[in-house]
């Protein structure tokens, strides 16, 4: 199947699980991307970010008190 070529690489929201302390602000700010597990730690979607969700992702990255979230370009 032919891939649609875009100028910008696709991006995903990612987590450093060691830095994460399960504060959970991300799940509120990026509800479409993050849910919490039985112990309060975030489970991130592996889907690439869209125009709407990238705003949620940025808000979550900025708000995380442990700097555990980041947005990564697909290689």
């Amino acid at each position: 199947m032919a891939e649609h070529q875009t100028a910008a690489p696709r991006q995903r929201l990612r987590l450093d699980p060691i830095a994460c302390e399960g504060v959970g602000i991300c799940a509120h700010l990026a509800a479409d991307l993050v849910r919490v597990d039985s112990w309060g730690y975030p489970i991130l979607t592996t889907d690439p970010l869209g125009r709407r969700t990238v705003r949620q992702a940025r808000a979550a990255v900025t708000a995380c008190p442990h700097r555990a979230l980041f947005i990564q370009d697909d290689v």
């Binding site: 990612r14 450093d16 699980p17 060691i18 830095a19 994460c20 302390e21 399960g22 597990d37 039985s38 112990w39 309060g40 730690y41 489970i43 980041f70 990564q72």
Partner: protein, 426 residues
């Protein structure tokens, strides 16, 4: 477990490349055994010949081709292609790299690395020196558990012997804490660089760097021994070095990789056939004895079927032993061995172990336990910085498939093996 070595001579079908004999490590209470000696430099040269000198230029080019051709993969459990690791480290920028021989054998059911360190230290050091030359490393390190006195004395003696006879990169010994995860490769990279020996999170693929910025290449000691054989022109990896265990007996054997898993177990342990085997150790997969029928010790073949020997570990569960109780015990060990850095591992492995203990205890009260456990497994999978939680999830998930009927019997209020576990109820 303080282990002693016992010599077991087996009538091998092939000339063993690494170990001249099968060796067995027995738990306490099995005394009266023969101690084996580390191979001296002279004996090592007689057996294998001297290590070929570094070729003119480019260094290591012949050897990397040889490793590629024999498709050597990492024997610490990950089975990553060795040649690809060399290429990545040679492409790395910055200071000259550091090469590490990882002899911190964390897997409780594995003794093959101890056997090699104690019996073939020079073969490991040859491989380490070859690797250091090939990637232009400034220094090489042998990483050991701090309480592994036998390996430490064998390696120190070997290093002292080499000092006056072999011209090679400086090699030092570094000691890590006696923890399960001290041998995890990202933990080794941090540990040898003076940091805490704990797994690291790596956001991008590529060579690991020590805390002081040096690209660091970590190889399991068996991988290095095999590199030393490849440097001498051995053109195929045709043997497997495995630790086969039952209870507190662990037997280390070198067998042709065409040997079946069932034959390996029979040769190592004798006696009655087990009801199931755990392939790949605590982070591996359970298989019923019948399901293991087609499997051989060949890693590519095992991988094609979704299995792996990991660091060469086969553990037998004998008839009459309760699989669920054994799995619960292993899961508890893995939970306690967590580096406690990632929430899903710290809390999730505990929850999984608790759930398995309820399952082992059994009774109608816990009739929803399998559903609950399955949910925990799905939540934890893929969420650690290192592979530790994934290994635990794999082992428990395979146990649910293999011992499913046992688990149901527990929930119905009876353990089919109650005589041995003492946990059944009437």
């Amino acid at each position: 477990m303080t282990a002693r070595l016992r010599l077991v001579t087996l009538d091998e079908g092939c000339e063993p490349a690494l170990l001249a004999h099968a060796v067995s490590y027995l738990g306490p209470g099995h005394g009266g055994l023969t101690e084996l000696e580390p191979q001296s430099l002279r004996a090592h040269w007689q057996r294998y010949g001297a290590r070929p000198e570094r070729r003119p230029r480019p260094p290591g080019e012949d050897l990397i081709d040889a490793l590629h051709k024999i498709a050597l993969t990492g024997r610490g459990g990950g089975h990553f292609p060795t040649a690809a690791k060399w290429q990545a480290i040679r492409a790395a920028t910055g200071p000259r790299p550091l090469v590490v021989a990882n002899g911190a054998e964390g897997e409780p059911l594995s003794r093959k690395d101890s056997a090699l360190l104690e019996l073939r230290p020079h073969l490991i050091l040859d491989g380490l020196a070859c690797t250091a030359e090939a990637v232009d490393a400034a220094e090489a390190v042998v990483w050991l558990h701090e309480s592994d006195h036998l390996a430490r004395s064998a390696v120190s003696r070997a290093l002292a012997e080499r000092q006056s006879h072999v011209h090679e990169v400086p090699i030092r010994i570094a000691l890590g804490p006696d923890r399960y995860l001290s041998g995890e490769s990202s933990a080794v990279v941090r540990g040898v660089g003076g940091g805490p020996a704990l797994p690291a999170f790596r956001p991008v693929p590529g060579p690991s760097r020590s805390p002081d910025g040096r690209p660091t290449l970590v190889h399991n000691v068996e991988t290095l021994a095999r590199i030393a054989l490849a440097a001498r022109g051995e053109d195929a990896v045709s043997s497997a070095l495995v630790s086969v265990s039952s209870g507190d007996t662990i037997v280390v054997l070198e067998l042709p990789d065409t040997c079946s898993v069932q034959d390996a177990v029979r040769r190592a342990l004798g006696g009655t056939d087990p009801q199931a085997v755990l392939l790949g150790g605590y982070g591996g997969s359970w298989l019923s004895w019948e399901a293991a029928a087609g499997a051989t010790l060949s890693e590519p073949q095992l991988r094609a079927g979704g299995l792996s020997l990991g660091a060469g570990v086969i553990a037998a569960l004998l008839p009459g032993q309760c699989g669920i109780a054994r799995v619960a015990q292993i899961a508890r060990y893995l939970a306690e061995s967590s580096a406690r850095q990632c929430g899903p591992c710290l809390f999730g492995l505990d929850a999984i172990a608790d759930s398995l203990h309820r399952l082992a205890k059994g009774g109608r009260r816990h009739r929803h336990e399998v559903t609950r456990l399955t949910g925990f497994l799905a939540e934890v999978r893929g969420r650690g910085a290192c592979g530790h939680p994934d290994g635990a999830v794999r082992m428990v998930a395979s146990a649910l498939e293999t011992f499913g009927a046992d688990g149901q019997a527990h929930l119905d209020g009876r353990c089919v093996h109650e005589a041995t576990t003492g946990r059944g109820r009437g």
